[in-house]
Symmetry: C3
Subunit: 241 residues, 3 copies
């Protein structure tokens, strides 16, 4: 039985992944969820990528987690990549779930199509506290397209403003993930159009992992809300040896 | 509960979509099917795209349909786009189902790979009445590849010659669908190779919608024959708010 | 009821396809499996592509097989293509299952991404008997990603060293398969990343068939081990008229 640490994406906290973790735990694994610095209630929204990564490194150390299957969603791929660069000794396998795969010197912004950059810049300018939110219509159509409207609304109410700097900061790595000897998996939800399919999560970003295991599952970017059990099964297939 | 109007593709009539409409109706929605001008028995095969579009605009008005979820299949995407440009006030959402998405000035021919244009031109030249038919071997292999031979044959017998001019006429739009504020969905049948997958319905054509909801379902271009209930479910997921 | 001949891929023999053949046979079809020259126990590993193709031509003739649905996996696509060029009179339909589709003058090496060529050349240089093997980590992650570790290990033990010359020899054809009048199908396992998805089996290689029937099924490159019954169903959908 393995140890899983689930790392959420932008606008989320670890709490939204608890229903997923519960299914993995029921199958006999140890599971952990944590909230990245910048997404916890009361966190300043001026947090940058380095502090965000450090908070998950600290979580690993404080909880003395070893041999961890580290799972990252979306923006969580930045965190995974940074943690793997700083503490590869604690990791059994990296599981990217529709997640960004940065090479050294890349930011989330470097992997986003221009329509998102224009949108986020405009929203952040209006908010003025360093944070960005996702407009509901885009959430409903492009992020949680597989759920009904009620589920989409309830999930949207759980979101929190995200520190923009973590999306614009360029990551510093000693080694790109593609060159690391670590075991790697990529979970691709086949209806995830949060990145448009002419520039998709898989294979555009997944291929930066080098050799990796592919797991595909039907669902949107927010399968954690629309079908947490199905997502948990995919994570266990991706995370096993 | 919503109001659905299903608009067929080339060589079809509204009648072939009735088994699909029946499932949507049984779920509590109002459903309508109509046959586009040019595809009704006895229609002259010299009909062009403008008259084809107008016939569905007329259907909306004559039946006093408002707040309609307008669903279009294949060539029906041309009609959807034209109707949305003329009467956006009557539409709740556009649902393209493996359908063409033209921008202003584009024809179906502009979105077809060269092998189809050569084929259709040759067939139309031989027929000489302005119409084109689809040869059975292509129907069987590239249009209804998920059905058995009997289903493929029975469905083929329901097809009617299609007015070629509706495929070569360029659409006139005041606004491209991608710039419209209307809600939009795209249903992609994942085994649909009526357009080859190196130049596919989704994402090549779907991306012209701008922000849209993606629904994917297993099946060929002719899921209306091979599994009408599965298609109806996909339409309801695509059509809901 | 039809006659199926299943042709295996590199490192395999006909024996590994017997569980698949058994399901097809139980559905009422005649089924045959054969092992390509170069993959039989004791075969010299200096065998080239011409002898490999000839061995399946001989099998057809010796067993007096006619009207055959010829199914080829991976490297088996080279064999299918060669057999169809030499004895099209004996074939009812070609079914490529995540298989190479060579045009005249092409080798497997011409269709492989550079990382495989570097890998195979290095392994063959070390072995020194003309054969190449697949390292277990690549087998586990990129070939049989949908199975558990035990299945992956048990299947790996069944593999045999493959004659490299069959992968580097260029095929000689009188007619490319895309120009042949033969019925053709392509089965694409959607999680098959043995070829990376930025240069995938389908549609990159499948499109060389010209008009063909697409069948897709969830699974890795080695669905014959991870779910032989599901593969058999896909083969029967691909192989029917």
């Amino acid at each position: 039985m393995a140890t899983y640490l689930l790392v959420h994406g932008a606008w989320h906290t670890g709490r939204e992944l608890e229903p997923v973790a519960a299914v993995i735990q029921a199958a006999g694994h140890k599971t952990f969820t944590s909230t990245i610095n910048g997404n916890r209630p009361g966190d300043p929204k001026t947090i940058g990528l380095t502090e965000a990564i450090q908070s998950i490194v600290d979580y690993l150390v404080e909880n003395n987690l070893n041999d961890v299957v580290l799972v990252g969603h979306s923006y969580g791929g930045m965190i995974l990549t940074g943690v793997a660069d700083r503490r590869p000794d604690r990791i059994r396998r990296l599981v990217y779930w529709n997640a960004f795969v940065p090479n050294n010197g890349e930011s989330v912004y470097d992997m986003l199509p221009p329509q998102y950059i224009a949108l986020f810049d405009a929203i952040a300018a209006e908010r003025g506290d360093g944070s960005v939110m996702l407009p509901f219509p885009i959430w409903r159509e492009a992020f949680i397209n597989d759920a009904d409207l009620d589920t989409a609304k309830r999930a949207y109410e759980l979101l929190n403003p995200h520190p923009l700097k973590t999306l614009t900061d360029k990551i510093l790595l000693t080694t790109n993930t593609g060159e690391r000897k670590l075991a790697k998996s990529y979970i691709n939800c086949t209806e995830d159009i949060s990145l448009p399919h002419c520039y998709p999560w898989h294979p555009c970003l997944s291929q930066k992992l080098g050799w990796f295991r592919l797991v595909q599952v039907s669902g949107s970017h927010e399968l954690c809300f629309s079908d947490p059990a199905r997502l948990a099964q995919a994570i266990m297939v991706a995370g096993r040896d």
